[in-house]
């Protein structure tokens, strides 16, 4: 088969190369073969321009195939084709000019051209002229995206021309928006641009701000010419212009002589050692900066230690100079930006609040099981985190058997509940009920279970993270505008947290089990004498708390990762959520989660470059908070508070 194939290849090759009738497209490609073969964003422009401007009917096809990595090179003769995969190793080549199949080739005889994404963006920009009025709406959108990414002055005219014939209202709106942005950037007459700027002064989209900001690109110039579009005067030492940088600007302008750095002075000293002395000072005494300064001053009388850069740059004219020459345009842009920025700040606050709510709901979900076992029953369960982990792994295992993600999640949620419910009941029966009078030892025994469970998970699933994939309808994000957005998966977690809050309230306040649980918690003996079986109630309550942890595990696994250490990441935070909120009260847990979530996001906002610091300070805050409210935000009063 293989021999036959190569024979076939050879035959088709012969048939093709002998007439040597390569079409005009192939000729053009061959002309730029070297550039195309080693496509780099820096050099490829001539080749793309040549293709785009060639006027050949196949130009659009070539560019599109090239962009999609479908253009191949036949190694033997260096000709370009587009190819279609037939089997894993065989590709069918097509000629660009005739669109006719050329033959099937082994992959080894071919080379795929893989333009990098920089080159692909440039091809996209070149394709714009072909695609703006393409009948396929997807292509038209692709063209708009290409403009958005890599706008050129040449796009302005075709874009304006294409709007009239646009049938799709959504695309038309987007075209108009883009036209405004292009007008701002590339139009030639100032009033049009200013008008365009004023028309978008309420738009907070990223593109608008990008367009306006790029108009305001500026640099700091020493003593700029009068013709320059200057902005504010800058004093050296302000943020944005250090004394060093200001001095360097003056040196570059030729009005200041460079000052030697201490290292340079030291080098000069060591070059001028004569007879164990430099500038009359013995070497051994040069171990202090003043002594060295004296020695240097002795060598260079022009220099004195008092000459500093700060004195040189003081009171010198440094101005902000805009790259955009027109002052009307920059003024309009600045005014527009100012009004936009207020809106952006408001929206950012909203986005931060959404993030805070989302984090709070995650903490709440992780802690709600604990609010039952620890808050209601007073049992410290250090293995709570491992129940969360078990839930997440249940989700992973279900996905191995049920390929449909939606169905698998629907199966996984109740299954995770059952699995962890069973584990919780088993643990309560075997261990915890023997330790109800010894809370500290419950802590240690459940910790033993926790390390055992974690290691068992490692032995079964390995230490590597396992994929738990959300169904497609949870992909993506709810996007209000370019500033405010939140992923659907987080919204789902928020909804789940709300559901569980309701479920918890319903069970505790409206069901027999809830009543019995409350009774047993407050006074087991009295409850027993009223005919309640405390053993059974404890078992069920503990199972319920563990089961909810399992469901939380599925949710957490969906948005983060599934590893054996998943649980231990949440255990300390969960306990703190419950303790901060106030033990024994679900509203307290909610308040605790909200406080921790918002606090952490708030600290992150204040110090965006160090997330670790946010976590550290949050914990320190909690420690201090508990000192002042040892019973949490919502403290139980009276006898129910116990000790």
């Amino acid at each position: 088969m293989r021999h036959f194939l190569s024979l076939l290849c050879a035959a088709t090759l012969l048939a093709l190369t002998l007439p040597a009738q390569a079409g005009p497209t192939q000729d053009l490609l061959q002309e730029h073969a070297a550039l195309i073969n080693k496509a780099s964003r820096k050099t490829i422009q001539p080749a793309i321009d040549a293709l785009a401007a060639s006027g050949l009917p196949s130009a659009q096809t070539v560019l599109q195939k090239w962009q999609n990595k479908d253009m191949w090179l036949r190694k033997e003769d260096g000709l370009f084709f587009w190819a279609e995969e037939i089997t894993g190793k065989t590709f069918r080549l097509y000629d660009f000019d005739t669109a006719a199949p050329v033959g099937d080739f082994d992959k080894a005889a071919l080379k795929q051209l893989k333009p990098n994404s920089g080159v692909r963006a440039m091809i996209g920009a070149a394709l714009v002229q072909f695609q703006l009025s393409d009948p396929d709406p997807a292509r038209r959108l692709a063209a708009l995206t290409a403009i958005q990414r890599d706008a050129e002055p040449s796009h302005l005219a075709p874009l304006r021309a294409s709007i009239a014939g646009e049938s799709d209202p959504a695309i038309k709106a987007r075209k108009q928006q883009l036209l405004t942005l292009l007008t701002i950037r590339f139009a030639t007459d100032t009033p049009t641009r200013v008008a365009a700027i004023q028309s978008i002064a309420t738009d907070i989209s990223l593109d608008t701000r990008a367009a306006l900001n790029s108009l305001l690109t500026s640099k700091i110039v020493f003593n700029p010419p009068d013709s320059a579009n200057t902005g504010a005067r800058i004093t050296p030492g302000d943020p944005g212009l250090s004394v060093e940088a200001a001095f360097d600007l003056m040196v570059a302008a030729g009005v200041a002589a460079p000052l030697p750095t201490p290292d340079q002075r030291r080098a000069v000293l060591s070059e001028n050692i004569a007879g164990g002395k430099v500038g009359g000072i013995p070497l051994a005494r040069l171990n202090s900066q003043p002594a060295r300064d004296r020695a240097y001053a002795a060598l260079n009388p022009d220099w004195s230690p008092n000459m500093t850069k700060a004195t040189v740059v003081a009171d010198q004219p440094f101005f902000q100079v805009f790259a955009e020459p027109s002052k009307e345009v920059t003024d309009a842009a600045r005014d527009a930006l100012k009004s936009i920025e207020t809106r952006v700040a408001l929206n950012q606050a909203l986005d931060l609040a959404l993030d805070g709510i989302s984090l709070a709901s995650i903490f709440f979900l992780a802690a709600i099981g604990l609010a039952i076992t620890f808050g209601v029953m007073g049992v410290i369960n250090m293995a709570h985190g491992e129940f969360i982990m078990m839930g997440a792994y249940t989700g992973y295992v279900v996905q191995q058997f049920v390929p449909n993600y939606t169905v698998s999640i629907l199966i996984a949620l109740p299954l995770a509940f059952l699995v962890t419910f069973a584990a919780g009941v088993a643990m309560e029966r075997l261990v915890i009920r023997h330790l109800y009078n010894r809370p500290l030892e419950t802590l240690l025994a459940t910790f033993g279970i926790s390390i055992a469970l974690q290691q068992i998970a490692k032995n079964i699933f390995g230490t590597q993270a396992r994929p738990l994939t959300a169904p497609a309808w949870l992909d993506g994000a709810w996007i209000l505008n370019d500033v405010v957005s939140i992923s659907y998966i987080r919204i789902a977690i928020f909804a789940l947290a709300l559901i569980f809050l309701c479920v918890f309230l319903f069970i505790m306040k409206r069901t027999r089990l809830g009543l019995e649980t409350r009774a047993v918690t407050q006074n087991p003996r009295m409850a027993a004498s009223m005919g309640i079986n405390p053993d059974r109630v404890n078992m069920l309550t503990f199972g319920l708390g563990s089961g909810i942890a399992g469901i939380a595990g599925v949710a957490i696994g969906l948005f983060a990762k599934v590893t054996s250490e998943l649980g231990s990441d949440y255990i300390v935070q969960s306990f703190m959520t419950v303790v901060v909120g106030g033990v024994g009260n679900i509203w307290g847990t909610l308040a605790g989660a909200a406080m921790i979530g918002f606090l952490q996001k708030g600290i992150e906002w204040m110090n965006p470059s160090n997330t670790l610091a946010a976590q550290t300070y949050m914990i320190i805050f909690i420690i201090i908070f508990i000192q002042f409210r040892p019973r949490g935000i919502i403290a139980l009063k009276g006898r129910a508070a116990g000790d």
């Binding site: 060591s270 070497l283 809370p439 290691q455 914990i619 420690i623 508990i626």
Partner: protein, 410 residues
Amino acid sequence: MTRSLFARNPSVLVFLACLGLFTLGVTALSEALGTGMISTSFVKTLGKTLSLSLIALAMDLVWGYTGILSLGHFAFFGLGGYMIGMWLMYERTRDIVVTSMANADIPPTPQEITDAIGNQIFGVVGGSDFPLIWAFSHSLALQLILVVAVPGLLALVFGWLAFRSRVTGVYLSILTQAMTLALALYLFQNDSGLRGNNGLSGLQNLPGLDDVPQSVVSLWFFWASALALGLGYLFAAWVVSGKFGSVLRGIRDDEARVRFLGYSVEGYKLFIFTVTAVISGIAGALYYPQAGIINPAEIAPIASIYLAVWVAIGGRGRLYGAVIGAAFVSLVSTWFTGGQVPSIPLGFYTIDWVDWWQVVLGLSFVLVTLFAPKGIGGLFDYFTGRKPPNRHGKDLGPGSGSLKEQEAEA
């Protein structure tokens, strides 16, 4: 006083004799001074075990005797290590820098030396300036004071806040755990100035003693650890033997009653919490030069929980129990995780101890808590013939039905 101390605690003499014999034995078998039967790395290992036993002793004081389950004592251990590590690191680097700069034609200024040291130490984490907390790192004496002062002060402040607000029981445990977590997270940051995740390394090389082989250095630290453990044991025995000890156990068994009797419960707790923090700091300062490197992972919350595990398995409320627990569990753990224990083939599955040891440890911990609350130390009761009254499995602790002082006395 001493007479009565030994009279009340005959185990002290036995323990000290055992420790002395053990130290002599190891010395005699070491590479540096003896037959070489015990390799240098094993001497280091034994020295580290003695340091761990010391912090276990502190844990027993605070948990077994006072009933405060602190899940944060490794924070103090780590701080002690960091404090001594700063000096070791600074001084070693200074030696290198000064030697290297002596070659230059112009003698260096003090500022240049400091800059060069900073660059060497912090270059690895992308910095070169000395943070403020390194202010005393040039002086061994000051850093040694800090070894006890920093953990002691942290414990004092933390304990004062916590005990003042009457945070007790599991709340206090979680709070101490939060403290060690916060400290670990803080130290993980590069901005904390202690080289972040990299920590302080190369601590086994003593500055100025490059010519002394590690076999000798390891023995020095071994002796120091043994001495510290011996002194720590004496001190602990003294603390728990008198009236003071009785109050401590009273607090453990029923805090409210002790308070109603007019004792300042908070004062006692604060004292014991701070003193054990200081002991932990000393243990850490002895441990990390033997380990060679300290980094924030060492003080993660799990470490302190393991400390509680050691003490519980060894036997709470008796000092030798803590020492035995720390030594036994950490030794056995290493043996199992070292990959030297033969696997058990079951036909369908092979039990590889590297993988399953943690499971065994975790479960055995549950079993000890449930069925043998006295831990290994309880075995000694069989030899001494001491039998507890049958209290239906209830044990030491503040809960109802717990053993009270007379029944549990070590």
